[in-house]
């Protein structure tokens, strides 16, 4: 590197009063100006504002700056902003460093402004120390594979796949079960429309038929993900369906002698070992449940299309895609045995079971069992739980959907049984937004709402036909006893059953609630910690159908960005071999990307050894750098010297 004179510009942000309300910004600017190589130090009310960004651009020319430091918020928020400003000023964007004096200083030390100011000075000094040693970096460009994988065949995944395909990208949609539709298709009705959830799902699945760019893979699960944004390789395994695409004539189902509980109806109906969950299910031909099939061969004999192969085995499939949308959904909370009478009586239902019961085409033709006298809904079952100990895993979040679904069904029952009492025992009513109309309608129709305290939940004493429900009313401070013919537990949602596996394969993080975590809770709700992997639907948090579909579209739009760019830049912060490497090779084994290889070369007639880094495989984690005893391998932008300079600056008080 040429010995150019270092000229650092330092910018300190007020962030309104966020920083300046605690930290003495003028003192930090004055201090920054006194640091070696700092030729320009200034402040701004909001460094991220366009005028402030232009200021950086102009100052680079005016003061011949060749390094820039901004002391402001977390680099996770505005590092890209300031790198772009630095680039606009004609500097390499990697000659920029950020000091985090908001999240790591002003916001956590508001009670100690003087010490916060001293700390802010230290953080600026550390950033300047690193900035002095920064080198310009030029990201490599890699061609993007113009296709996407969508994981999950519920509404969010279906929407996402259709949207991506309509933009001209090849889409592979995988679903672990043998039929598409997800949880939504099991509901009896949708609020504000006469369209049933199955009809709505059919609109989405019909779109798949018309769309040449989509290939649907049911029965598939992802086993591993390799590569990076633009160039992922995904290994899939298919669990056999045992039936090839056929005319769905139904003869096989008719002759099958095996009957088992139909999980689609939560065991309220029976199905055969070869089955369709419901008539219009997609793909519209049967699957065989091998866990109950006796392989008697009746179906094989009955099939005129030779579509059945009872010996089919697992299949493997590798896909190469540029981006991935995860839409694996959530699962319904199943109450614990005895929780509000659960499992003690067929008159105690959960919300999803009630949806099957009230479905006119469902197992009970839409009728509740027995005489309908008093139907009592109990809210917040499996949601908004309180921990009784630090270790206990409970669902502390609100599941958002249960209030609306309960009120929708309460109206439905009241309409059908005007003389019956319908009660909703609730902690808080959260029929948010437009769903408020449902709440109002329920009130007008005479549904009785009784509020209870979370600490004093209703008691359900199961009787022969129905139950005695005792509730402590918040308003009257009185206890009521309701002779219920039916009890409905307004159960919420939990992370999907295979969330752990999806999390591991796609290297996602969990939020405190256990759902998949977005890259930024406010600003990047669709991205994840794995670049090029996006999330949609209820795998992120409980969402209703509209929200799921909207997020499916949104994730498709996000995924389309890298796909349509044609090429993406690889983060240049990768390992690089230095002159000190003597080829001892101890960095090869710990490397997480298997990116390092040992090479031999000849110098002055001598055979020498060193290592080489494959930058496409290198993840830039730096385990090699910390393993090497000789400073033989460094990670760009996080070199040992740069980190050491920061340490030294931190200690320089």
């Amino acid at each position: 590197m040429t010995e150019e004179e270092l000229r650092v510009g330092v910018y300190v942000c007020h962030c309104g009063t966020n920083i300046a309300g605690v930290v003495d910004v003028d003192a930090v600017v004055e201090y920054a100006a006194s640091l070696p190589n700092v030729v320009h130090a200034t402040k701004n009310m909001y460094m991220c504002s366009l005028p402030a960004q232009s200021g950086i651009k102009e100052d680079i020319k005016k003061h011949s700056l060749n390094r820039v430091v901004v002391a402001s918020c977390t680099p996770k928020m505005h590092e890209p902003t300031f790198r772009a400003a630095v680039q606009a000023g004609g500097l390499n964007p990697f000659l920029y460093e950020q000091a985090n004096i908001r999240e790591h200083c002003a916001w956590v030390h508001a009670d100690q402004p003087e010490r916060a100011t001293e700390k802010a000075k230290d953080l600026v000094r550390m950033a300047v120390a690193k900035a002095r040693l920064l080198s310009p970096l030029n990201p490599k460009k890699i061609a993007v594979i113009r296709s996407a994988l969508v994981v999950g065949g519920g509404p969010a995944g279906l929407r996402s796949a259709a949207d991506l395909a309509s933009r001209g990208f090849e889409v592979s949609l995988i679903e672990k079960s043998h039929f598409l539709g997800g949880n939504a298709v099991r509901s009896a009705s949708l609020p504000f429309t006469d369209q049933t959830p199955r009809e709505a799902a059919a609109v989405l699945t019909d779109a798949l038929e018309d769309e040449k760019n989509i290939s649907v893979h049911t029965g598939y699960e992802a086993e591993s993900l390799n590569g990076y944004l633009g160039n992922f390789t995904i290994s899939l395994v298919k669990k056999p369906r045992f039936v090839k695409e056929c005319s769905n004539c139904g003869r096989c189902i008719a002759v099958c002698p095996v009957e088992t509980d139909n999980e689609f109806d939560y065991g309220l109906s029976m199905r055969k070992a070869i089955y369709m969950p419901y008539d219009s299910a997609y793909p519209n031909y049967p699957a065989i449940d091998m866990s109950v099939c006796k392989k008697c061969g009746e179906c094989v004999n009955a099939c005129a299309e030779s579509a059945i192969d009872l010996e089919a085995e697992d299949e493997k499939l590798d896909l190469s895609v540029g981006a991935v949308v995860i839409a694996t959904g959530a699962k319904n909370y199943t109450p614990k045995d005895g929780e509000f009478g659960w499992g003690k009586s067929d008159r105690v239902l959960s919300l999803p079971v009630l949806e099957r019961v009230l479905d006119k085409t469902g197992p009970t033709k839409g009728r509740l069992k027995g005489k309908v006298e008093n139907v009592v809904f109990i809210g917040c079952v499996g949601s908004r739980q309180k921990k009784t100990s630090e270790e206990e895993k409970v669902n502390e979040y609100c599941s958002r959907i249960c209030c609306t679904e309960s009120v929708k069904n309460a109206i439905h029952i009241k309409d059908r049984h005007p003389d019956a009492g319908v009660f909703y025992l609730f902690r808080d009513i959260r029929t948010y937004g437009r769903d408020e109309y449902l709440y109002r309608e329920a009130l007008e129709k005479g549904v009785v709402f009784i509020q209870f305290e979370g600490d004093v939940p209703p008691e359900v004493n199961v009787l022969k036909k129905g139950a005695k429900v005792v509730v402590s009313d918040v308003l009257s401070r009185e206890s009521f006893e309701i002779p219920a013919s039916h009890v409905v537990l307004a159960t919420g949602f939990e992370p999907g059953a295979d969330a752990d596996k999806v999390l591991e394969v796609f290297k996602l993080n969990r939020s405190a609630d256990g759902f998949f975590q977005e890259a930024h809770i406010k600003l990047r709700p669709l991205e994840t910690s794995t670049e090029g992997v996006f999330i949609a639907g209820a795998c992120q948090a409980p969402k209703n159908l509209v929200e799921s579909i909207a997020s499916g579209s949104a994730a498709a739009a996000k995924a389309a960005v890298p796909l349509s760019m044609g090429e993406v830049e690889l983060d240049p912060a990768k390992a690089m071999v230095t002159e000190f490497c003597d080829g001892c090779a101890i960095c090869i084994d710990p490397c997480l990307g298997k990116a390092i290889t040992l090479v031999e070369y000849e110098k002055d007639g001598e055979l020498k050894k060193t290592v080489e880094v494959n930058e496409a495989l290198c993840k830039g984690c730096g385990v090699c750098m910390a393993t090497c005893p000789k400073k033989g391998i460094d990670v760009r932008h996080f070199t040992l010297d740069q980190l050491q300079a920061m340490v030294d600056a931190a200690l320089e008080t």
Binding site: K76, R115, D122, L123, N509, L643, A650
Partner: protein, 138 residues
Amino acid sequence: MTDEFEPLIVAFCCNWCAYAGADLAGVSRKKYPPNVRIIRVMCSDMVHPNLVMNALTKGADGVLIAGCHPGDCHYGGGNLKAEERANAIMLMLEDFGLEPERFRLEWISTSEGNKFAKVVSEMVADLKKLGPSPYKRG
């Protein structure tokens, strides 16, 4: 009060979990003592033992390395490499005549702002009891 010993802690926080956890402590306005200086690293496995030992012998009273929880590493297992290395660092502390309390490896997720604040507060309290690094006095 004014003469009370204020330990200086250098914290290496991984970009994906602990650094974001420290950010969340800020976003949630969780107070902790201003004794820590955070250095962002891409992964906890990037922190060379020399960085830790240099810090502790040149004036830091404590060093914290914070990474993702096991299973959550962005790179798939870098934190476990850091854990192996932490064992070696503990042995080096002994060789250097430093107390084990001066070094901590912690798993802090992006959602654990409270934990970040708790770890720093605990460490500051521990180091106050322990007193300044022996390398500082000389």
